[in-house]
Symmetry: C2
Subunit: 256 residues, 2 copies
């Protein structure tokens, strides 16, 4: 069977002009743009990002797919069953489908599962991933402070799956990125206070979107019920600077 092509398109962190030329081209060319949203009645963030650049066209379908913000396998499985059926129907008709995903498709993305299942469900289907600007680099751009340089090491932790060992991570890495903060802010702030790193942390929600929120004193957002688009960056900066070049400092981190 000759299927339509499937694209996983990273649409970047939020600002429409952070779309890549390739993302714009791919989204414009696709027969169908698949757009994830959190509820049947809610807006799709991905559509909000691309609409100003791509626009509505009568010859192009916008296929909204609902994925509840949930960690419950049963609820997610029902959502994916619907999504696979609707995407599959279009691919089987030879139509190309561009699945628009916030940030980058390879990093904690809704597209990941679709990508993994595609070959099993539609053998031989052409799948292409268009990388996008991730919030991992959009957040430091907003903060105006590099994530890491030279010998510095980075840990990326999805906070919604537990931060019990955060103190050890903070001590072992130069830069720690906490994604998907969810309801973990109180624990995150506590770990930062225990390690004396509160003044080296910053909180950014909805980076590069109009609703962007930045806090450099995390105590002010301690009770914030962060959403999926909230991130905390902790940068020790004890080894940064290309001219520092003291390789012996490396030893301090070798105990991970």
């Amino acid at each position: 069977m000759k299927y339509g092509a499937l694209y996983g398109v990273g649409v970047g962190p939020g600002a429409p002009d952070l779309l890549t030329l390739r993302a714009v081209e791919t989204l414009k060319r696709a027969d169908v743009i698949a757009l994830p949203r959190g509820s049947d009645y809610g807006a799709s963030m991905a559509w909000r990002i691309i609409e100003p650049v791509v626009g509505k066209r009568s010859d192009q379908e916008r296929l909204f797919l609902t994925f509840p913000m949930s960690k419950e396998p049963a609820r997610l499985r029902r959502a994916w069953d619907v999504a696979f059926a609707r995407i599959g129907e279009r691919l089987e008709n030879g139509r190309s489908v561009a699945f628009a995903t916030e940030g980058d498709p390879s990093l904690y993305s809704t597209f990941g599962y679709l990508h993994r299942e595609a070959q099993r469900r539609w053998p031989g289907v052409q799948v292409e991933v268009i990388p996008g600007v991730s919030s991992v680099t959009a957040v430091p751009a907003v903060l105006g402070a590099p994530l890491a340089d030279g010998m510095e090491r980075i840990a990326i932790i999805p906070a919604n799956y537990g931060v019990e060992d955060l103190v050890a991570i903070l001590n072992a890495f130069d830069t720690t990125i906490l994604m998907k903060i969810g309801s973990e802010m109180p624990k995150v702030v506590e770990a930062l206070e225990r390690t004396g790193l509160l003044h080296k942390a910053a909180y950014v929600a909805k980076a590069t979107m109009p609703e962007q929120k930045v806090a450099t004193d995390l105590r002010a957002v301690r009770t914030e019920r962060g959403d999926c688009f909230a991130m905390v960056v902790v940068a020790r900066r004890e080894r940064s600077g290309v001219l520092a070049g003291d390789v012996s400092a490396q030893a301090a981190l070798s105990e991970v």
Copy 2:
């Protein structure tokens, strides 16, 4: 003093169409495009990436700046002294300077040091960072395999500053990204063999460029003298899949 604005522009991993709309706009508008290169006689990778999109214009200066591929502070300091003088002269004349940097300006970028020094050298200068697609997400896009989803955790290690503790890192994280491989490939392969993770690793050099090289059996590139654009990704994928959702597996990683 009223300085021209300074932009740190991420130009993405290599393919010109992975430039963002904002990067293109900023590069086209700037009075001066500053372009790092590895030697006085070598080409600038950043210029190679942007030339097809931005083009040469008689009313726009291209300022090539040489930064030797070195970890020696003394050599780098000399290069930076020249760069600061040449960029400063232009900013002081009220001209805007867009410093084009491969990948993203916040992640192991030449721009990091310029960013840190800017306020000290040119007080009040407007500095803006334009995030770009990083090789951190371009490489998994090329491989067609997600970096992480759900509860998976990621470590990013600049390999050229030492991989002595790599076994511990590999065991503690779901996904390990080794950047700037340099001459460390033999040690990397050895650590992968010791942890039994060789079959979960992939090597990509110059992702998305015409010279792109991919190896999924790392023994084939064991003696490769990887360059600054080579990366190894190790993804255990023992906890991936949004539908796996077994939070108890988290315990296994809490010993970092």
